[in-house]
């Protein structure tokens, strides 16, 4: 890192550039929220405006870490998508899902709880959208077999996915972005977030037991349908399965060790993607690469540039000063404001643009507090660390607050429509919002106890 980051080198004046960048930022976010135009289209166009109108130089947008595209995030996402796309045809995910259902012995709530745990674990290791796409079709099938309403299963799957994704660096895009910006390692997330997510998952299971446990009833004859399914039939390509599991294990080990190895997570994931592509002996990588969710990738690219623009003109700095004024420099109060504001903001806005904005804001705030520090001393200041965790917990868990709060929710609602029983916005919120408030409340206690009372 440079001693004097470019952002703070810019004079802070509310000139034409300031208002232009601010207008692009606000209008773009408003259109994204309104969903009138596809969010990726908005992000790309607004990003191009930032450069065309000379708010950012092209060089800054493409190559400067503080102002432009965070390639660490981009390559980590692309590489994980490639690995999963290569794994999918082996049938491993069908196998896991059917095995889980049988483990539940056809008992409706037991299956729901097991699916919630499996979804949470997979979401922690893969991205949430993929996990939900892989688990939900099976949950609907199982609900159909048991002749019970699939809706609770679908909602539970989305909620568990957002909770599980919070546990690790690679679990949810906000964490990937925070880790990259704050130079946090995979093990930092395991040490600081995984423990509380395990606690939250236990409480989540108890909560859904109260919400749905009694309503889920089935006949013994129907349970037999589940027990008669043979999960071994799901494995289509045992050779590719072994190769995939080998590479996935290698990548996860790489993530655990990346801090010690001095390799970025994106490097580890890219290596895994390259290796698995090689091992798959594919002669036609076209369809594997085409299945990468390019709209999501370009959404990130566009957002990084938009946010770079408002960082450069000083809007983010101005916002950080306002936040510090509000909390009068009290770090515990700041953590709490960040966590709860993030939770509600992420329930309304996509948490990706939100965190893209909050990351530089937290850094700017740190610069106000400790003007003499820079680099890791600044980013990893002991008083700043709880803020990163509060941001991650708030932004990830906040995704449960509404039907549009997280991509996993949107996928699940789309699927419920296909299953012939659409989950309405309000119905999702009726379950999602209480879960969000409970989980963020637990996180509040956790952050308070761990970082302000016990201080470990």
């Amino acid at each position: 890192m440079t001693n004097e980051p470019i952002a703070s080198a810019q004079p802070f004046v509310m000139d034409t550039a300031f208002w232009t960048a601010t207008a692009i930022f606000i209008i773009a976010y408003a259109i994204i929220i309104s969903e009138k135009v596809h969010k990726t289209v908005v992000a790309i166009f607004a990003a191009s405006l930032m450069i065309v109108l000379k708010i950012l130089e092209q060089h800054e947008a493409f190559h400067v870490e503080e102002l432009g595209v965070d390639w660490n995030v981009i390559f980590l996402l692309i590489s994980m998508m490639v690995i999963i796309n290569l794994m999918r045809p082996s049938g491993i995910f069908e196998y896991i899902a059917i095995k889980s259902a049988k483990w539940g012995k056809g008992e409706p709530f037991r299956i729901m709880a097991i699916f919630a745990v499996v979804t949470a674990v997979l979401s922690a290791l893969l991205d949430n959208v993929t996990t939900v796409l892989l688990i939900t079709p099976v949950t609907v099938l199982i609900a159909d077999a048991l002749e019970i309403d699939p809706i609770p299963y679908l909602i539970s799957c989305a909620l568990a996915s957002n909770i599980g994704g919070t546990a690790t660096l690679i679990g949810d895009p906000p964490n990937i972005m925070i880790a990259s910006k704050a130079y946090l390692t995979f093990m930092d997330f395991i040490y600081h977030l995984t423990p509380i997510i395990i606690v939250i998952m236990v409480i989540y299971i108890l909560t859904i037991k109260l919400m749905w446990g009694r309503k889920l009833r089935t006949k013994d004859t129907l349970k037999k349908r589940i027990m008669e399914m043979d999960e071994r039939g799901a494995i289509k390509d045992p050779v590719m399965l072994k190769k995939s599991l080998f590479v996935l294990a290698l990548v996860l080990t790489g993530f655990v060790l990346h801090g010690m190895l001095h390799l970025q997570p994106a490097t580890i994931a890219l290596f895994g993607a390259g290796l698995l592509l090689l091992l798959s002996k594919t002669h036609e990588p076209h369809h594997i690469l085409a299945e990468v969710e390019w709209p999501t990738i370009f959404f990130f690219i566009g957002l990084f540039i938009i946010v770079g623009g408002v960082v450069k003109v000083g809007l983010i700095k101005w916002m950080s000063i306002q936040l510090l004024d509000l909390t009068q420099g009290n770090m515990f109060a700041t953590s709490m404001v960040v966590m709860w504001f993030s939770a509600f903001a992420s329930a309304i806005v996509d948490n990706i643009p939100y965190v893209a904005t909050m990351n530089p804001l937290v850094i700017d705030m740190a610069k106000q507090l400790w003007p003499n520090l820079s680099g890791l001393q600044l980013l990893h200041h002991p008083d700043l660390m709880p803020l990163w965790w509060s941001l991650a917990l708030g932004a990830c868990l906040g995704g449960n607050g509404s039907a549009i709060g997280a991509s996993a929710n949107v996928i699940v609602i789309g699927l419920s429509e296909k299953a012939g029983n659409k989950i309405s916005f309000m119905k999702f919120m009726a379950y999602g919002m209480p879960i969000m408030i409970i989980t963020v409340a637990i996180s509040t206690i956790y952050v308070w106890l761990r970082y302000y009372i016990v201080r470990i």
Partner: protein, 163 residues
């Protein structure tokens, strides 16, 4: 030779308010030409005789097929009686919910090669033939195009024999 020369003139058709049960029954007994019974698809016309869709036996299969199965390879994890149960549930639903709305059509004076072009590019086995007023006047079936081709082959053999 044009589309209208090979098509089967319109006899039966469906309306959007037909139930799936009635429609499926019509598909089974509809006459295709003189003696062949049963068709793979029927056009759906509104009260003014305007073409609004086509219902094929594929659409009937889709009606009992849960869309989530399409997302993963789960077909083998289904159970006996599943199709029958969904079929019973769907029997009284309306044709309009299951018909294919994007219908490939040809004009009556379309050349046969244009018809083959559409059949191959859009992977359909039949389509409605429209007159100049955009009214459906018949259905052109893949099989009749096939007969036309085989006739041409027979003729070419005869020609070669003559030489």
């Amino acid at each position: 030779m044009k589309a209208k020369d090979l098509m089967i003139p319109l006899q039966e058709y469906l309306t959007p308010d037909h139930t799936l049960k009635e429609a499926a029954n019509l598909l089974r007994i509809a006459r295709r030409g003189e003696e062949k019974v049963g068709v793979k698809a029927l056009p759906v016309l509104d009260t003014k005789g305007k073409l609004i869709g086509i219902l094929s036996i594929g659409d009937v299969l889709k009606a009992v097929y849960p869309k989530y199965l399409n997302l993963m390879d789960l077909g083998r994890f289904t159970w006996d009686g599943m199709v029958e149960a969904i079929a019973k549930k769907m029997a009284d639903r309306k044709v309009i919910d299951f018909m294919t709305q994007m219908v490939i059509t040809v004009k009556e004076d379309a050349p046969i090669m244009e018809c083959i072009d559409y059949m191959l590019k859009h992977n359909v086995g039949r389509f409605p033939v429209l007159n100049k007023e955009n009214k459906v006047i018949g259905i052109l079936y893949e099989r009749d195009v096939f007969y036309f081709i085989t006739d041409a082959m027979q003729n070419s053999v005869e020609l070669q024999d003559d030489e």
